[in-house]
């Protein structure tokens, strides 16, 4: 576990609202660290709809999810936010001095007087096929049972591998694991793929050369004993079923959003949302703020622009917690030379 990092504000979520919070807090000289389970900033904007246009951002008549993220990153650059990507915020505890300690699953510890939860609908996690008893095979470790990612390719050497899915992950790992597998079978519900065409072509070549097998089929059941996967039941287009032996099953159906450990933070949730007041956007637990889609209050609208407003008000309240002995000077970026200096434009 690495040494604890002290900062002004620990932000959970590097989506558009977490990013804009960095800006509003930065104008007040508060430094931020952000934790996000994805491997890049943008949250839903870059994970779900990077290419889709958004039309309701004030002043930007049309902007894609990726462009909005890029512009926010440019806007917060002067404040040098520190990102902790591919980490899930796991635990939040109050320290004796009144500050908070946020710990991630990678062992990062952030110590700050203010925590801002800007986690959208929660954490992006792999979609889990609705198969009875799948949990027991998920604990088998890298290269055996059910795996949702390939962490170490070597753990798959000499194994009978079954991959399900039709996207880029399914096809890429079919191609990359084929040379070291004892056998590799790809199943998909149709003879067509959303993955990149060159990957599909490469997979077809491997199939033609007898290096892999491809079936139009779906996994209907898992079989094994005491957590050790032995095989699956496959079902084809005419509903005919057959047994297929395998050591490891890799389902690649993309990501979905689950609330995750935030539910265990000791905050009283209302239908998986964090209730806040509309002056400070603070949760019932002082020092913990919630902005964006994760919060709820009378009249709440889940819009990016609402989250931006919430970030601005939150920053004002957060300042008083992080700098109890200082006077907050409210200034406009258009006229304040000190703000312009912070932004690097004066």
């Amino acid at each position: 576990m690495s040494a604890p990092i002290e900062t002004d504000v620990a932000i959970i979520g590097a989506g558009p609202i977490g990013l804009f919070a960095v800006f509003e807090l930065g104008l007040l000289d508060l430094k931020c660290h952000l934790v996000d389970i994805l491997d890049r900033p943008g949250g839903q904007c870059t994970e779900l709809y990077p290419e889709k246009p958004i039309y309701d951002i004030p002043g930007l008549p049309i902007v894609t999810g990726q462009e909005l993220t890029n512009r926010l990153l440019e806007q917060v650059k002067p404040f040098d936010p520190q990102f902790h990507f591919t980490e899930m915020a796991m635990a939040l505890e109050k320290l004796g001095d009144g500050r908070w300690k946020l710990t991630s699953d990678a062992g990062t510890q952030l110590i700050a007087p203010v925590v801002v939860i800007a986690a959208g609908a929660g954490s992006f996690v792999p979609k889990r096929p609705p198969l009875a008893g799948i949990e027991q095979y998920e604990r088998a470790g890298d290269g055996s049972g059910v795996n949702y990612a390939v962490r170490k390719m070597e753990t798959f050497r000499g194994k009978n591998i079954l991959i399900a899915g039709g996207g880029d992950s399914a096809l890429d790992w079919t191609i990359n694991l084929a040379p070291l597998a004892k056998s590799l079978t790809l199943v998909h519900h149709r003879d067509g793929f959303r993955a990149a065409q060159h990957s599909v072509n490469k997979m077809r070549e491997l199939e033609a050369a007898g290096k892999i097998k491809f079936h139009v089929a779906s996994v209907k059941a898992l079989h094994g004993e005491s957590g050790k996967l032995a095989g699956v039941t496959l079902s084809g287009p005419d509903k005919q079923e057959w047994h297929h032996e395998t050591d490891v099953f890799l389902p690649f159906f993309g990501l979905t959003i689950k609330l995750g450990p935030i539910a265990e933070f000791g905050i009283n949730l209302h239908e998986n949302l964090i209730p806040v007041d509309t002056a400070r956007y603070e949760s019932p637990t002082p020092g913990i703020f919630a902005i964006g889609d994760i919060n709820t209050y009378p009249g709440k609208l889940k819009l990016i622009l609402s989250g931006f407003h919430e970030a601005a008000l939150m920053a004002q309240a957060a300042f008083h917690i992080a700098r109890p002995n200082e006077k907050l000077r409210f200034q406009y970026t258009t006229s304040s030379s000190s703000l312009q200096k912070k932004l690097g434009v004066a």
Partner: protein, 102 residues
């Protein structure tokens, strides 16, 4: 128009469709547990439903985008559709859908 929807617990709901709304919006408005994470952009496959036989033929065929996106859905069957891509109309009065497992 009416929509008959079976939730994940097997409970049947009769919902009032609205012309021009998507079936996903009606299900969500009716309080059914459907994630619809992307909000109807055909970008997440979390509004997956099975359309009852007899109705699937009456729907406009899947677009390429919907077919591609269904590759990211779990437990896809021949009658699988993304409910955000089905638009309510009088022609669909009585359509029956079952929310797919998550």
């Amino acid at each position: 128009m009416k929509i008959i929807a079976i939730d994940r617990q097997g409970q049947e709901h009769t919902l009032e469709g609205r012309d021009g709304w998507s079936v996903m919006e009606i299900l969500r408005d009716g309080g059914l547990d459907i994630a619809a994470e992307c909000g109807g952009a055909c970008a997440c496959a979390t509004c997956h439903v099975y359309v009852d036989n007899g109705w699937i033929e009456k729907l406009p065929p899947r677009s390429d985008a919907e077919t591609d996106m269904l590759d990211m859905a779990l437990a896809v069957e021949s009658n699988s559709r993304l409910s955000c891509q089905i638009v309510c109309s009088e022609a669909l009065d009585g359509i029956k859908v079952t929310v797919a497992p998550e």
